[in-house]
Amino acid sequence: MESVLLPTLTKKEEIDRIINNTIDKVLVLRFGRTSDENCLLLDDILEKSARDVSKFATVALVDVDSDQVQVYVNYFDITLFPSTVFFFNAHHMKLDSGTADHTKWVGKFHEKQDFIDVVEVIFRGAMKGKMIVHCPLPPERIPKYQLLYKDV
């Protein structure tokens, strides 16, 4: 089920192109599959807020079931879905949300405003030269998960 607004990327070249063409804007890449319920909920929020953040962010979906995308799945250490990775000017932006993994956002957002707040904080931090920012959301709104090292 392809979103009308958000581009779905299935090839590495497409991901490279969108990373290289997004200049001075936050790039939000959602890694997940459309068969997953949490992923669909997250997609819904992303689609609804894409326009609101369009001035400072671009949102794209990446289908993890595609073979060509597996290199990115491994490179970004994505083990849990959905995972959202943030970039700014082809540089990865880290988000300290109190969880074990600062390199991405795992799970869905509670509501639209939460996503907008996170993207805003990332943008503000990036414009100031910070590569890691603090998550503005309260702990109860941040999805909890267990991060396992190599499935151990």
Binding site: Y72, N89, H91, K94
Partner: protein, 389 residues
């Protein structure tokens, strides 16, 4: 010693009068009649009187150029007289500021001005600035009657038979305010005023029609006067809606003037209100150098120049991995190493047997590497705290 004391007592002007409110300074004081000589009071008084002078100037404009007052604008056409402490509202008056003009010419107002200046101001010179003479009022009344007669005659000439109600209303009687109730919205109401009438508003005045006696110089400030007078003069010769003439905004001469002036005013407004956005972004933002280079590359691509694309098949963005510590370059190197090993292993396995497939690449890497000590994840902050303790 005793004489000195008595002299001192005499010198002390311990005249503490009762507290009274000064309308000019807007505070209570117990200085009594001396208050009006204080420099602060004098400054505030001059500002106070200047403000009222400007209001009187607006009323004097309507004195020289009588204009019909529409019922809708009655509420806007009101003046507060500071000397008499009363609000002059133009209820039921047919000409703009008619009640204000009558008030400023009245003897009671003159008396109040004198009282005010005696109480607050040191000099009584400026009484005439704040009142209107009877001669001026008489002239104004004559102008009003002339205006009314002209208007009534022109209406009879131009309007058709169905507007007989308008004929009656346009005579010099006071027009009662006609409130449109929601029930009447579907019905078509006759015009209260001829379309040739002046349409007045306090914020801006636009004049249409052929009965202008106004020169451009007499128009008050804040009025789009220059363009409107020119348009009205042109309509004198051309005609109006009833005669089937084109509207003034389609007149090429006026359109040019109008659009030119508007664009100038628009430009000045824009320049004043909206500050010009500087396109310079923070040079210390993340990936600033990359962004500048990429913009140049994109411009060159747009122009059609060949650009060395750095997006190889192996290109990967700057990323800090989860299980690697150190710089992002280190994590990239480590990933490349893992990838190479994986490729080598898969090739070797595929040559041995096609059926065997390695599902988990991590397990292969695990065998070849040294045994890894599995430890629970401890955040940087927790590590710092522990080391501090």
């Amino acid at each position: 010693m005793e004489e000195k004391n008595t002299k001192k007592e005499k010198k002390k002007p311990s005249k503490k009068s009762e507290f009274e409110f000064c309308k000019v300074c807007r505070f209570h004081h117990d200085q009594g009649p001396r208050h009006k000589y204080f420099p602060r009071h004098k400054d505030l008084l001059s500002a106070f009187l200047n403000r009222f002078r400007s209001k009187i100037a607006d009323v004097r404009f309507f004195l020289k150029n009588p204009i019909f007052l529409r019922p809708q604008e009655e509420s806007q056409n009101r003046v507060w007289c500071v000397f008499c402490d009363e609000d002059i509202v133009e209820l039921g008056s047919s000409f703009a500021c008619s009640k204000a003009i009558n008030h400023f010419a009245s003897s009671e107002h003159r008396k109040n001005i004198k009282q005010f200046l005696w109480k607050h101001g040191p000099s009584m010179d400026c009484v005439d600035d704040f009142q209107i003479s009877d001669a001026d009022v008489a002239k104004w009344v004559r102008k009003c009657t002339a205006l009314g007669n002209k208007d009534a005659s022109s209406c009879r000439g131009q309007l058709s038979g169905t507007s007989s109600d308008i004929h009656n209303k346009l005579e010099f009687e006071k027009v009662q305010t006609h409130y449109i109730s929601p029930n009447d919205l579907n019905d078509v109401k006759p015009l209260l005023y001829n379309t040739n009438e002046y349409q007045i508003s306090h914020s801006g005045v636009t004049h249409y029609g052929s009965h202008l006696n106004v020169d451009a110089s007499h128009l008050p400030p804040g009025v789009i006067g220059m363009t409107s007078t020119s348009s009205s003069h042109s309509s004198d010769s051309i005609g109006n809606v009833h005669s089937g003439a084109p509207p003034p905004w389609l007149n090429p001469n006026d359109a040019n003037i109008f659009s030119g002036q508007l664009s100038q005013t628009d430009m000045t407004r824009v320049q004043e209100k909206i500050p010009v956005k500087t396109s310079k972004l923070n040079p210390h933002r993340v990936g600033a150098a990359w962004a500048e280079r990429r913009k140049i590359e994109m411009e060159m691509e747009k122009r059609g120049l060949a650009v060395d694309s750095n997006t190889d098949a192996d290109w990967l963005p700057n990323f800090g991995r989860v299980w690697q510590s150190g710089t992002r370059k280190d994590s990239r190197k480590e990933f490349d190493k893992e990838k190479r090993k994986l490729v080598v292993k898969t090739e070797s396995i595929s040559t041995e047997s096609e059926e065997r497939r390695v599902v988990k690449t991590e397990s292969i890497s695990m065998e070849s590497e040294e045994p890894v000590q599995i430890q629970p994840y401890v955040s940087k902050r927790a590590r710092k705290e522990k080391s501090g303790d």
